[in-house]
Amino acid sequence: MSAPIAYVLFLSFAVFCFGACGFLIRKNALSLLICLELMLSGVNMAFVGFSRLHQNEGGNVLYFLVITVAACESAIGLALILNFFRLKKSVRLDEARALEG
């Protein structure tokens, strides 16, 4: 016996919402990326939950693919932040408004 799927989904969405919330209110780019990871983790929870519900490994495989993307995303994102920092000596995202510079 395991917990109902609704619990898992609710948890998943809640975590996603916390991530999204953080993403919207944070000012510095590092925290932003961290919150992005949180969002992805939330989505992953839904995958694993459904995988368990149907006792089908498909969801777990998708989890694998999502973490691949998450890793690539954070790698590229952090590289961008480093470049941005080199340019502006800051990691505050509201300084990234101009298209040039």
Binding site: A20, F23, L24, I25, R26, L32, L93, D94, A96, R97, A98, L99
Partner: protein
């Protein structure tokens, strides 16, 4: 099954090698360097030739190799498949074989050019498209190749595109070909309407099975005319021949490969491939015959008065293609095909020889500034001599044999207009080729630069092609003269002859020998007259008002300009000023103003703050969610 799959690999290899090569040279040509590209391009083609030859010698024909289903069309579908039958194999042997030689030649000719890699990329792409054209089993596949060669032709004509003239020559070729393509497409639609299929063997089987209603016959006749239009466009026949002389703006190997040996014969190939369809409409065949004969005659008259060495050869090509169409129209496809092959050899030889001369004279093309090159470029001279003799129809060179076969068929058809045209053309061919030969190699040198012999990559190709031009006659040496007519037997399963010489053998031999003697005499006469006329050529052509139409190519370009181009311009101007200026611009300006006004407000949303964008996404998502929720209940 096992056999089939390994042939499938080989066939795919033969076609894909040039394509891969093309992509490679295009993307990495600069990085690889000239040496690597030349070795690579030539060896890719040689490998492709080897693959085709392997199939030629081992496979049992006809062989259909299916790759995958391509276009599902309602009830039927088009597969991506190759059809290896005598017709397509013979042509692809020529394409890859001559293609390899010309690639080799081009490595010498293009040496040091900035676009070396690009050139070979296009050339390889051309070979790929040509193989698609010949080997494809369906009309769409054929059309793909057809357009592919057209594209390559365009790219290569305007290869040195910085020169305005070259660029416009390329455009001309492309646009004139569009007219032909229109015919082809029309034919394709008609065929699909009647037969509900686009696979060539399927169509031909249905044709041979017979039973058509009168309605069907209307559409097939339309299809035949469409095909003729397409073939005329690609093979530069009247009325669509105007692009070919201008196409000589491209590098000489291109003229040799595309505009003499292979691409321009695609029309002939198409007519032979679809022969059963044409047999339903003998009147269309008659049109083809007349079109060919008139083109042959007409182009020859122009060729006599050209001074540019490549222009002479270009008109000569048109004229010879006319011969082929004549043969096709008379129902002698074997003769046409035979002439196609021998022509590929000797015309490639002549073009490459001309290229060698041009190369040796530092891009001098005007024959009035040549002369006396016999001693300076001995190899080129001797090879060109063989080519000239072959095209003039001097026995026993290949040109003689194939042309004689066509003349024999014309004679057997008893249409005296055609006979007269064909023989006059033969005479004129010999004359202008003799003129070219003598103006270039004899007399004294009238040029400005010091001439030099070309590098071995070029001359060795000339030698090989000269040997081929001399000996290719044995491919179809007539029975009557103790030959075996190998090509005729080979092709007999796919095309059929309409003209049967129902005479007794002795009489036949006599008449054929008479004909042979006559035609060789005609050729020799042409050469001789040319010799005496141009022996002491000083650089001044005598001019007379009577010759002016010939010199100016009958004002055809001007005529087209006046009729088609001017009116089109007017129409374009109308579109530009009225339709575009008032109607479209009005709509556009209005909407632009609207957009501008709206965006003034909307712009405020674009703050550059990523998070705000994310918020909008989020709100959109919530709205969707809400929609899903309410939509459910």
């Amino acid at each position: 099954m096992e056999e089939q799959s390994h042939l499938q690999c080989i066939a795919a290899l033969a076609v894909l090698l040039p394509l891969v090569g093309s992509a490679l040279w295009f993307s990495l040509g600069k990085k690889f360097g000239e040496k690597f590209v030349s070795i690579g391009a030539v060896s890719f083609l040689a490998l492709s030739f080897a693959c085709i030859a392997y199939i030629f010698f081992t496979a049992t024909l006809p062989l259909r190799i299916n790759f995958f289903q391509w276009l599902p069309l309602g009830t039927s579908s088009v597969s991506f498949a190759f059809l290896f039958d005598p017709l397509s194999l013979a042509l692809s042997m020529v394409v890859t074989g001559v293609g390899t030689l010309i690639h080799l030649y081009a490595t010498g000719y293009m040496h040091g050019d900035a676009g070396f890699g690009r050139f070979f990329s296009y050339l390889n792409l051309f070979v790929f498209s040509m193989l698609m054209l010949t080997l494809s089993d369906s009309l769409p596949g054929l059309f793909l190749g057809w357009e592919g060669v057209g594209l390559c032709s365009y790219l290569l004509i305007s290869f040195w595109f910085t020169d305005e003239a070259n660029a416009s020559a390329g455009k001309k070729a492309f646009i004139v070909n569009r007219v032909g393509d229109f015919g082809f497409l029309l034919a394709m639609f008609c065929i699909f309407k009647v037969f509900g299929a686009l696979s060539i063997p399927e169509i031909l089987q249905t044709v041979q099975a017979g039973n058509f209603s009168g309605d069907d016959l209307f559409w097939t006749r339309l299809a035949c005319f469409g095909l003729v239009l397409g073939a005329a466009g690609k093979s530069a026949q009247i009325p669509l021949y105007v692009w070919l002389p201008d196409a000589m703006a491209g590098p000489t190997p291109v003229s040799a490969l595309i505009h003499a040996a292979t691409m321009v014969t695609a029309g002939v190939y198409l007519c032979c491939r679809m022969q059963p369809l044409f047999l339903l409409h003998l009147d269309v065949l008659n049109v083809i015959a007349y079109m060919g004969a008139i083109t042959a005659f007409f182009a020859a008259t122009i060729a006599i008065f050209q001074n540019d060495i490549k222009k002479v050869l270009a008109y000569s090509t048109i004229s010879q293609l006319g011969y082929m169409f004549l043969a096709v129209g008379l129902g002698a496809p074997v003769a046409a095909y035979f002439h196609l092959i021998t022509h590929a050899f000797f015309k490639a030889l002549l073009f490459l020889g001309a290229g060698s001369v041009i190369h040796g004279l530092h891009h001098e093309q005007d024959m009035r500034h040549m002369g006396g090159l016999r001693t300076k470029m001995p190899i080129t001279f001797w090879c060109m001599t063989i080519g000239v003799l072959a095209i003039a129809g001097v026995p026993p060179l290949s040109g003689f044999v194939s042309k004689d076969e066509i003349l024999h068929n014309v004679w057997g058809n008893h249409d005296w207009t055609l006979v007269a045209l064909a023989f006059t053309t033969a005479f004129m061919t010999a004359f202008y080729m003799g003129r070219l030969w003598i103006m270039t190699f004899f007399g004294k040198f009238r040029g400005h630069h010091e001439a030099h012999e070309s590098p071995w990559t070029m001359t060795s190709v000339l030698v090989i092609l000269a040997a081929a031009s001399a000996l290719a006659g044995i491919l179809n040496w007539p029975h009557l003269w103790g030959g075996s007519e190998t090509l005729g037997t080979y092709l007999s399963t796919v095309v059929q002859a309409l003209i049967h010489h129902a005479e007794d053998p002795a009489h036949a031999l006599q008449s054929s020998l008479t004909l042979a003697v006559v035609s060789s005499l005609v050729g020799l006469a042409g050469l001789t007259i040319a010799y005496f006329r141009y022996r002491n050529f000083s650089g001044e052509e005598f001019s007379s008002p009577a010759f002016r139409p010939f010199q100016n190519k009958y004002y055809i370009d001007e005529l087209y300009d006046a009729i088609v181009v001017k009116n089109l311009r007017m129409f374009g101007k109308f579109l530009w000023k009225v339709v575009d200026g008032f109607v479209l611009d009005g709509v556009l300006n209005g909407s632009a103003a609207l957009a501008s006004r709206t965006s003034t407000y909307l712009r405020q949303l674009q703050t550059g703050l990523m998070q705000q964008y994310a918020l909008w996404i989020w709100i959109g998502f919530l709205i969707l969610l809400l929609g899903a929720w309410t939509g459910r209940s």
